[in-house]
Point group: C2
Chain length 309, copies 2
Amino acid sequence: MKYTFGVDIGGTTVKIGLLDTDGTILEKWEIKTDKSNSGANILPDVAKSVLDKISEKKIDKADVCGIGIGVPGPVDSQGVIHNAVNLGWGTFNVSEKMAELTGFKCHTGNDANVAALGEMWKGGGMGYSDIVMVTLGTGVGGGIILGGKILDGSTGAGGEIGHIHVNDDETIPCGCGNFGCLEQYASATGIARTAKEMLDKWDKETVLTADDTSAKAVFDGVKAGDELCINVAKAFGDVLGKGLATIAGVVNPEAFVIGGGVSKAGEVMLGYVKPSFDKYVFKGASGAKLVLATLGNDAGTIGAAKLVL
Amino acid sequence: MKYTFGVDIGGTTVKIGLLDTDGTILEKWEIKTDKSNSGANILPDVAKSVLDKISEKKIDKADVCGIGIGVPGPVDSQGVIHNAVNLGWGTFNVSEKMAELTGFKCHTGNDANVAALGEMWKGGGMGYSDIVMVTLGTGVGGGIILGGKILDGSTGAGGEIGHIHVNDDETIPCGCGNFGCLEQYASATGIARTAKEMLDKWDKETVLTADDTSAKAVFDGVKAGDELCINVAKAFGDVLGKGLATIAGVVNPEAFVIGGGVSKAGEVMLGYVKPSFDKYVFKGASGAKLVLATLGNDAGTIGAAKLVL
């Protein structure tokens, strides 16, 4: 039996998985992300954890295919990270460093791109080789897989679809500094903000309250038939569908895989995105399916493991 | 010396080039596109023309690397065309058919994608491997090259950027059936239409006339300091820059190579696109250069030749 390790480095914890070469997680665990000293201990800590696991499980090192790593920042196709502000890292070759520390073959990718690879391999995108993963969480993340390979982009910003421009009239800046980014409307934060704005002008009954206009409250309300919530969901779906239609016209994927906290609303959420997507998409690219991500927090470790296979 | 043939099949003529393996055109000529009988004669005519040239030049067949073909329609990565309406073609494998007819290795791509490959190899995109080619002609065509390879897309619609949605308020349909496509504003046709609309409301002096609001007249006027023309160019540049910024956020190229009739206006045209691009682009992808295409009508044959190398 052959093994791979998948490592998903986040700002608070590092998720590590021991997998077989079919993508089944045999064991998974977390270690704390030590951000002290500009994050200098992070990779040594991961290396130690992996090597300890190999000893503990009495795995023959010759049976380890390698270590895949997802990191929160722009990574080029050579494995060089260009400033991971969340970790305190500057610019260096993560793959080389990890290979030095462990003796194994290592490959590194941006965490969102790596999660996309995981969803293609074992999740909502299984059976496809050209997908766009859209993660609707605090922000909107993205990863593009074409022909089974990550689209890194020339400076590691491939698939950063949360920051495509969708609204000329926005007056509040996005976290990135621009105005009118997709993330400002389609993230959990964006949905809550739209709901708050609509609630302020609403004079009929609704389940939403000034204390809770969260994306979860909105989609719970949608399921209960709440009119205001349905309006919020329509506004969300219109913007996101239009954004996905644009992306379809650029990279023409087989499927969009929608993940992140907002996707927990399930198929009902997709139902608000699809009509807008169908309306705006170029016909030649209109066959793309909209599907839900299925791997949750495991997408990162599974995708990372796939990097070395 | 080794040779390649580049074939650029259009609705009226087929451009054929004999090239060396460095991408230099040694000879180029055209044959008529025979669209009778659902275009059944097109490939046999091309095959005969290529084989005749080989005889005429006394080229040893062993020195021919192959034949690359650009066709006006969606082509998948296997060389299968899916309806080329301009030629009367349905669905079949162009590469296989041409290989049968000639005995040479053949590769086929969409004409806009192949032109993009040509510009990357020997034109405005030389030195880059990740480019987006934007052809501003009667319509807006596009081709995306990543890592030196064409992004075909899952159904051959990769890089069809003329039909990304940029205007919610459009009431006139695009040729594709949608409303508010980039092509409706950034093509030569779109510029002429914007100019006409602005001219109708203009009560000051201008070089534009109801008879000539063409893109050429507009940019000639810009160079002469005409205020109305400058307004038209600003409107064009704002829309195109915003569209390119969106594309940059998806595929993060090193450069956009702008070609087609509108690009003959030269650097002055890019000067209207750049401020809008800079305003809307995600910072992580903002390094992309805007450059002019340089190969003109030869991009298709040169790019086609590159397909087989």
